[in-house]
């Protein structure tokens, strides 16, 4: 998957799982402040991303994630590992 494809997929998840309006999902958007996710939502998102990548994501690796772009990077790293 390219970064663009990852972004599109992630954007879809954010819309269907957390009712985030599509226009608010940008690379710079902060998950907690701008998109109104909470830490329990983040756990659900990690589970969903594990299904997507087929790889285990440790909660620690996700602790430093702040923005949509951070998530895209993390997923991209996992897929190219």
């Amino acid at each position: 998957m390219t970064r663009d494809e990852i972004f599109t997929t992630l954007s879809g998840y954010l819309q269907e799982m957390f009712e985030v309006p599509a226009e608010r999902v940008t690379l710079q958007a902060k998950l907690f402040e701008d998109l109104d996710l909470d830490s329990i939502d983040a756990v659900d998102l990690v589970v969903r991303l594990q299904d997507l990548t087929g790889k285990k994501i440790s909660p620690e690796a996700f602790k430093t994630v702040r923005t949509v772009s951070d998530v895209v990077d993390r997923v991209h790293d996992l897929l190219t590992e």
């Binding site: 269907e16 799982m17 957390f18 009712e19 909470d38 830490s39 329990i40 939502d41 756990v43 659900d44």
Partner: protein, 258 residues
């Protein structure tokens, strides 16, 4: 005129007195009754139940005394609905300091989330630990797990979705935490409504500024929502958002907020 001033003076004195009683009475129980329970009831669950019922009885007595001394009127509507309640998430609006006292007097097997400092307090540590109250400084996931565990054990967990005291007309958006707890634990949600007229013991108001009329604190037991009607979603996170918006709308309507 004189009578009115006397009444107001008495209520001011009485309010101070009753605030002192919470501190003194709490400390007294924490140093006498609760250590005895902890010493003699070794099974943690049985100990929890015992401490919970002493706290409930004390708060019942406290509310009855406030009423008897005519410091304030306290009414509970539909209290019998709570007697059989087990493993439910109990939520309420939060106008005053007395709210949690009124709820804990009316609710069996009551559990709550407390300031973490109480678990380090020399007097209250034993009681708070023994009662199984949950400290508020846990990491979000650990806090959720503790709340789910207490609900599964059959306790009723009290949460104020506004997060802090709010008075009429100053609406605060509900936090999602309570809905996360309810969906993770698959616990039913018992709605309570608290009215406090005229306002007393509210945020930002010193306790001695009592209103012209005697305050009526009224706790109304509302419906108990079956959580399953909200869980019928592909994602738990969507169920949470539906639950929050349903309950927020409900409270706005019954409390007459804009």
């Amino acid at each position: 005129m004189l009578l009115e001033r006397l009444d107001r003076g008495w209520r001011c004195l009485g309010t101070g007195l009753f605030l002192a009683v919470i501190g003194l009475g709490g400390s007294f129980l924490a140093l006498t009754v609760f250590p005895v329970i902890v010493l003699f009831v070794r099974d943690p669950l049985a100990r929890q139940r015992r401490i919970q019922s002493v706290i409930r009885a004390s708060f019942k007595l406290y509310c009855a005394a406030i009423q008897a001394f005519r410091v304030a009127d306290i009414e509970v509507i539909g209290a019998e609905q709570l007697e059989q309640l087990r493993g439910a998430l109990v939520i309420a609006n939060h106008p005053s300091l007395l709210d949690v006292v009124m709820i804990m007097a009316a609710l069996p097997h009551a559990q709550c989330v407390v300031k973490a400092g109480l678990l380090r307090h020399p007097f209250f540590r034993l009681t708070v630990q023994g009662a199984g109250y949950i400290p508020n400084d846990l990491e979000p996931e650990a806090l959720m797990a503790a709340c789910v565990a207490t609900l599964r054990a059959g306790n009723n967990l009290i949460v104020f979705p506004e997060g802090t005291r709010t008075i009429k007309g100053h609406w605060k958006p509900f936090h999602r935490g309570f809905a996360n707890i309810a969906t993770l634990a698959r616990a039913d949600v018992q709605l309570l409504r608290i009215d406090c007229e005229p306002s007393a013991l509210h945020k930002g108001n010193p306790w001695w500024k009592v209103a012209e009329r005697r305050t009526v604190f009224r706790l109304t037991v509302g419906q108990c929502l079956d959580i399953r009607q909200f869980l019928d979603q592909q994602y738990r996170s969507v169920a949470v958002r539906k639950l929050v918006s349903f309950i927020e709308t409900h409270y706005r309507e019954v409390l007459g907020h804009g």
